[in-house]
């Protein structure tokens, strides 16, 4: 197949993935919202244990469809990213469009991994929304035709540095979803009890631990991404650290997550404060990705906008 055929195929796969993620979104939304109807039926069962007060079995199937669609969407997106790489004969993250689709892939991959490991089906709704938003922006605003790289990007470090950054970003975003859910539920509980649909979401303590575990797991990878970037910068620009806006914000993200880890481990922050700090750290990553790429100036001008 020729380069343009691959590029065309890639675009179609991305559109298909978006359609599938939309189905996943509705499936998860139905799972969450229609479980409410069963309350009265469940109360009649007269079990005192509050956790079994609600019967969610009626929307189980919808949840399973959601998960199946999340897996299918991931596979389509994966194929789309690979086809994009084949069309340009290189790693598929040479501009902001490609970075976005690969980032969405890493994010949904991180979700599927966490789904298996921590039983996170409830997180499917925010994940589907975030993936749809990322892909939607990518294909409408950021889209650029498949093209070869400029000389500065022709390096093995592109594969190493950027893939590490994308993977870290995917997990950081997932941790942000968890922390945001924590804050939402925390607010609900401080006003009284959880709303019915939120009853089967995990306990606050579980969410708090999960956010920490995700960050602790990926922080070394982010450190590595920054270091790999520094090695590449030394090789390409003659200076391993030049306080370019992108570098500066990568450093700020690093500092913010380092502060989060310290705050938890040494100072003993838990719960609300930790969740806010986690959200703040994640937003510095997003800021770097959006603001610095599009409106900032500097050496990392790869958005092609």
């Amino acid at each position: 197949m020729s380069a343009t055929t691959y590029a065309y195929l890639s675009n179609n796969l991305i559109y298909s993935a978006m359609a599938v993620y939309t189905i996943a979104f509705f499936a998860h939304a139905i799972e969450v919202s229609f479980s409410v109807r069963n309350v009265e039926v469940a109360v009649g069962a007269e079990t005192d244990n509050s956790a079994t007060k609600f019967d969610f079995s009626r929307t189980q199937r919808s949840g399973r469809i959601g998960t199946a669609m999340m897996i299918l969407g991931f596979l389509l997106l994966f194929a789309g990213v690979i086809a994009r790489g084949l069309s340009a004969h290189r790693v598929p993250w040479g501009n902001m469009y490609e970075f976005s689709i690969t980032g969405a892939l890493a994010f949904s991959g991180a979700y599927l991994y966490a789904l298996v490991k921590y039983k996170l089906r409830w997180l499917g709704l925010p994940v589907a929304i975030a993936v749809l938003l990322t892909l939607g922006t990518a294909i409408t605003v950021l889209y650029r035709p498949s093209a070869p790289l400029v000389p500065a990007l022709k390096s093995t470090w592109l594969a190493i540095h950027v893939s590490a950054a994308i993977a870290s970003g995917g997990v950081f975003l997932l941790a942000n979803c968890v922390a945001a859910t924590y804050l939402m539920l925390d607010r609900m509980e401080s006003k009284g009890a959880r709303k019915v649909w939120a009853q089967k979401l995990p306990s606050l303590e579980t969410l708090d631990q999960l956010a920490y575990r995700l960050v602790a797991f990926v922080f070394p990878l982010w450190t590595f991404a920054v270091i790999a970037g520094a090695i590449w910068a030394e090789n390409a620009w003659g200076r391993y650290w030049s306080w370019d806006p992108k570098e500066t914000w990568a450093f700020i993200t690093w500092v913010a997550y380092a502060a989060y880890l310290h705050a938890r481990v040494t100072v003993g922050w838990r719960g609300r404060r930790a969740a806010w700090l986690c959200l703040f750290a994640g937003s510095t990553f997003l800021f770097n990705y959006v603001w610095v790429n599009i409106w900032g100036s500097g050496l990392h001008t790869y958005s092609g906008l």
Binding site: V150, P151, F219, T223, I227, Y240, T248, I252, A259, H262
Partner: protein, 491 residues
């Protein structure tokens, strides 16, 4: 009286030291460092883009003047930024070194004593029957716990490498900071624009700009010389984007020795020890011949022009101070010529496929004797009068009255960046150790397990403690309990 004051002063110093080296202060300084680096990413910085700083000054003079007082245009070299990272550095050392000595002392130390009441600990389990402490000790040792055996209990701990990794990480950060300082104090960094065909000898006078670290001597440059043999830029014909830059040089090290051919690319610098030579930018130098009225050649050769857009439309100045009256040209080099009513002459492709040289000729005082430094790429026309305007194709001449100028052709120039950073290998070592330390520290689970014969003497109590709430303690205790129950039932 004075003794008391001395005591007070010493106490105050001790207090300040304790405050500075406390974990909270270190954390605060870390966050402050992050915050302090923000303005440098928002406002233009002199070290990165002096032109943009100039533009900022001319756009808002008063504001810029005040911002400059707070070094907002050179944040990363400013005293207040330095103050934060030096304090952080001291705080880090004060935090980490005592902990390192503590940790070293603990090598081979036994776990702390078993607490009196295990009931309140995590994963508290009672194993009825006769499971023995020996079995527990064997199991714990097999699972790589450090064990402290008492008469009626066992205290075991695992995961000491968590602190080892943690300390390694923080000590590596100190190494990186030292490496940055070494690079800054003992290194050098400079740039030079060299035309194809010219020879660059690595001495301070060959550079367009060169800066040395505080403790670096000027004679310490590696004595190499490079002759630029060829420069080839390849462009994508549909997007006009560059696809490859290839610089071929004849390199002599030291200068005067046999030359060997070397290739320099954007991601492949030429290396001599800790010195690296980078291909940083490129452009065009139109080659011209200027003759005076009598036909005598007053200037001949390439003149470096600076690229202004992606299609390498380049501008520059040709100054002839020795002609009488003095003559100057403002020039524009268009590599692949096109023309439109609105934009005038412009370039449609970055490669020199159909070049033109647009010149405006000026006569008068070039202003070179005024003592003020002047850009070689710009003509100061304040004391000059315009003679005329002309567009030349290769081979064509322009008679401007006081003489003539011929557009002979063009050459490419390359901007070489030559950097000596003796600290970078240490920075790399520090970075590698930091990541290793971080992984060991974050992925090691630290926990204690206690086994105790209860007051009746007929059952064993098992409990544990997972530091920082790391998961897996329950499973581990369950494994031990299973091992104890098995032997119990067998016996």
């Amino acid at each position: 009286m004075s003794e008391i004051r001395e005591l007070e002063a010493a106490g105050l110093l001790r207090w300040m030291w304790r405050q500075l080296t406390s974990m909270r202060t270190a954390l605060l300084l870390l966050l402050l460092l992050g915050l302090a680096s923000i303005p440098g990413s928002i406002f233009p910085q002199r070290s990165q883009n002096p032109m943009k700083v100039q533009q900022y000054f001319s756009a808002n003079p008063t504001l810029a003047h005040w911002m400059d007082k707070f070094q907002l245009f050179s944040v990363y070299g400013s005293p207040w930024f330095a103050a934060i990272y030096i304090l952080l550095f001291i705080s880090l050392i004060g935090c980490v070194l005592p902990r390192t000595f503590d940790h070293l002392k603990k090598i081979g130390a036994k776990p702390p004593l078993t607490p009196k009441f295990l009931e309140k600990m995590e994963a508290f389990t009672v194993v009825e029957g006769v499971g023995s402490l020996d079995t527990a000790e064997k199991w714990l040792k097999r699972h790589r716990f450090r064990v402290r055996r008492e008469s009626t209990s066992i205290s075991a701990e695992k995961g000491y490498s968590r602190e080892t990794g943690n300390l390694l990480f923080h000590l590596s950060l100190i190494l990186i900071l030292l490496a940055v300082a070494v690079g800054g104090l003992l290194g050098s960094r400079g740039e030079a624009i060299v035309n194809v065909g010219e020879r660059f000898v690595n001495t301070p006078t060959s550079y367009d700009n060169l800066s040395f670290g505080k403790f670096q001597k000027e004679g310490s440059l590696v004595p190499f010389a490079l002759t630029i043999k060829n420069f080839k830029a390849t462009y994508n014909i549909t997007t006009n984007a560059p696809s490859d830059y290839l610089l071929t040089v004849a390199a002599e090290n030291p200068a005067g020795s046999t030359a060997n051919t070397q290739v320099i690319r954007v991601n492949k610098p030429l290396t001599y020890g800790s010195t690296k030579i980078y291909l940083q930018a490129n452009g065009y130098s139109p080659v011209v011949t200027v003759k005076d009225k009598t036909g005598k050649i007053t200037f001949q050769g390439p003149v470096v022009f600076l690229p202004q857009d992606a299609n390498l439309t380049s501008t520059g100045a040709i100054k002839l101070p020795d002609m009488n009256p003095q003559i100057g040209f403002i020039g524009s080099f268009v590599p692949t010529y096109d023309r439109s009513a609105t934009r005038g002459a412009f370039s449609v492709f970055p490669e020199a496929l159909d070049p033109r040289l647009l010149l405006s000729a000026w006569q008068g005082n070039l202003g070179l004797d005024s003592g003020n430094p002047q850009s070689v790429y710009r003509l100061d026309t304040s004391k000059m009068t315009k003679l005329g305007l002309k567009q030349l194709a290769v081979g064509q001449s322009y008679d401007f009255g006081e003489g003539s100028i011929t557009f002979d052709g063009w050459k490419s120039w390359v901007n070489l960046q030559i950097v000596d950073d003796p600290g970078k290998m240490y920075a790399l070592l520090g970075a590698i150790l930091a990541v290793l330390g971080l992984m060991v520290s974050l992925f090691t689970r630290q926990r204690r397990i206690w086994v105790k014969i209860d007051s009746t003497g007929k059952a064993l109590q098992v409990a544990g403690l997972a530091k920082n709430g790391t998961p897996g303690l329950d499973e581990e205790v369950a494994g031990l309990v299973a091992a104890l129950s098995n032997t119990g039932s067998e016996g």
